[in-house]
Symmetry: C2
Subunit: 435 residues, 2 copies
């Protein structure tokens, strides 16, 4: 079959590769320039790659290329206000930090090498005709119109998907978008003059402060990409940080160790745009056998579980295997794909939302800390019959909804047994044993 | 101040009237033709007017004109499958049925007579510039562009509001739209040859069947407007009703009394479009001191509590009184308006959603029936200190959110006292006393 894909990001490029391997013909259009030649710039959190994503990339034969681009993070290092730290492991697997531009270029490059794949960059999607799987574009350099008609049109064009918008017209389309009252700005911790790292290079660094939060991912060049997450309004917020002095005061007060690591923090802070955090849900994901959505185009989540890209790859694999199961009826394939993915991406949205509160408040609640420690301890002694939620999400391919249900069961069990209450007494003792 | 209002429907026309009475200058644009000359046609449920709406119209001095257009419904008449009926009162006040076209023409006519109000019909809103309260239109007959710049731009353009769409651009706008899996078609029960009514004219007629539902409102000309509410898919649904015979079978089976009243039911049924049922929520409702939304443009609800128009009028009154309280700072007025209305329209959305299930299933659950009867009985003996939810929504101007909280408290109380369980035993006895 012939596919048009709108969007050459992670989902679009990976899907093109996967479909072409199945013998389909694919043309991918993207608004942006070719990531193989343009340096990926701009503000975008480093991406988190975990078991689900690695499996998908391995299946596509890209494992060794990817391994060369990643920085493994084996756990989370909490920085308290006094400069002290506390480590908690991600367990077997963990999260790999990778730069969006690196992986983007790799995927486009790999897809372009498969016969039947063609990329058209700098083309803006201006409309679709959903009954005929036709998409209209305008070439951003010449201003000329382009028309792409295929058997199937795929929207892989991200959270503000144009394909989704046109797909929803005149349909009973459910749609929700929810912005967090918090935003973030990217800061940069440069490498040492000798190229070395200024902090532990193999962990996810986190400065949770309740009403503000900071985190940092390692980069291969010795630097760290740091995200400053703040409410838009309120006493400590983007609204109240008006000049360099305000920012320096905030850092001196809450993140003193970072003040030394980020040079010219005041200047940097105001140089960067504020990025939003949004959750979207939509239904339907497809129009008959003609149009279908993948990735952020149908389910954007908060980035706090680092699963957005991993979930998008899972979408692509499910879509390809559904098409393989129903080669003569893409409409049925899309229905199956939706039925299998929707409950899982809904669960992921919910878990990602909750994990924001957890990351932000981690230092605050000793009860939560005890429960977490117990959770991890039980995993060790139970031989994986018991797994903390974060481990199921990160280190396995257990469907998200199933992981969510299992974690809820475990949580009830812990509470039900009154273990949390009892354990609070023996915290210090227990923590010693575990560390 | 100078206002541009987009939308000359219930909310737009009423707001124009109210603002002009305060001394403001208002121009109202609408896509449709002038309702004073065009006969309001098309499928649209009769509107329900209750205490809130009547208060608003009375305040605007339109009470006697409105009284001449309405059909009062003093309660709900349930029709069972065997043709039996059961009446339940709406209490003091009740709901008045009114045709959208009648009230629409009345409001535009009344507004147009106030100095400072101007209407421009058949003008489609094609964009807005929110920082300058500018709206762009295209005249639908000449194709010419129109530009309207005022101090404040109001979006009163309904559930698919163009103003809202443009307002939300580049904002952290929360938005939810949720379609019910059910739709409806309008049917018509004509008057008797002598002009008389074929059923009781002063009640809301309801045929609840769990998996389908029918209801009818009286019209002043002796006819009834009937709504057939069905799922889109499933054993009994729009999908399975393919030809006249299917429809006749469904009616013979579930609504035998209606079969005699609606002539050529099969033909009628397929002549009419299927209408959707949608709930929408959005935030923000305004942009600084320049743009603000009212009515369905910011909160469409299911029609099952018959409150949509009443809530829109409440919006308008709150907006006008907020502007009166902050004449020099519309931005603050809009903030206050939003803060006061949003919790109430959210509560209304939730209650309207729940009332769908209640209407649909009314015949089914004896327990619910007992609780309802008790609810009504308690109202009588308590001297209004106890009021059923429907009565608070319909017969009072208690803010929706407050009504919802109060009803929840009453419900807990009933359950808590175990009254429902006990009362189930004495149902028959109790019902006799009440009737």
């Amino acid at each position: 079959m012939e596919f048009t894909i709108v969007g050459a990001g992670m989902a679009g490029a990976f899907l093109a590769l996967s479909l072409a391997r199945e013998g389909h013909t694919v043309t991918v259009y993207d608004l942006r320039p070719d990531p193989r030649v343009a340096s990926g710039e701009g503000s975008s959190m480093n991406l988190g790659l975990s078991r689900r994503g690695l499996d998908a990339l391995g299946h596509a034969g890209l494992r060794s290329e990817v391994d060369a681009l990643v920085m493994p993070m084996r756990g989370r290092l909490l920085h308290d206000r006094e400069g002290g730290t506390r480590f908690s492991t991600y367990g077997d697997g963990g999260i790999l930090a990778i730069q969006r531009s690196d992986l983007g270029a790799l995927l486009v490059d790999a897809a372009a090498k498969v016969p039947g794949v063609r990329f058209v960059f700098e083309a803006r999607c201006t409309g679709i005709e959903k009954d005929t799987a036709t998409a209209y574009f305008v070439d951003q350099t010449t201003g000329k119109g382009l028309t792409a008609k295929a058997d199937v049109l795929v929207g892989a064009d991200g959270v503000y998907s144009a394909v989704r918008r046109f797909l929803q017209r005149d349909e009973r389309a459910g749609y929700t978008q929810e912005f967090l009252d918090w935003g973030w700005r990217e800061l940069h911790i440069p490498a040492r003059p000798d190229g070395g790292f200024r902090m532990d290079p193999d962990v996810f660094h986190l400065w949770p402060r309740g009403d503000t939060m900071m985190f940092a991912h390692p980069n291969r060049d010795g630097s760290f990409t740091c995200s400053c997450v703040l409410p838009f309004r309120g006493p400590r917020s983007f609204e109240t940080l008006r000049e360099a002095g305000d920012v320096e005061r905030l850092f001196r007060d809450l993140f003193p160790d970072l003040l030394e690591l980020v040079p010219d923090i005041g200047t940097w802070f105001f140089d960067r745009p504020t990025m939003n955090l949004v959750t979207t849900r939509t239904t339907p994901w497809h129009h008959e056998d003609k149009v279908v959505l993948v990735g952020d185009a149908c389910h954007a989540v908060f980035p706090f579980l680092a699963q957005g890209m991993n979930a998008a790859f899972e979408d692509c694999r499910e879509l390809v295997s559904s098409l393989r199961a129903h080669p003569d009826d893409p409409g049925v394939a899309f229905e199956r794909y939706y039925a299998r993915r929707k409950p899982n991406t809904d669960a992921l949205a919910e878990m990602s939302r909750r994990n924001f509160a957890e990351l932000r408040d981690t230092v605050r609640s000793p009860a939560v800390r005890v429960e977490k420690a117990l959770d991890v301890a039980l995993e060790r002694v139970s031989g994986k019959r018991w797994m903390p939620l974060h481990a199921m999400v990160t280190n396995t391919t257990i469907p998200y909804a199933q992981a969510q249900r299992r974690a809820a069961r475990q949580h009830r069990l812990l509470r039900g047994l009154g273990v949390v209450g009892l354990a609070a007494i023996g915290t210090a003792l227990l923590r010693k044993r575990l560390s």
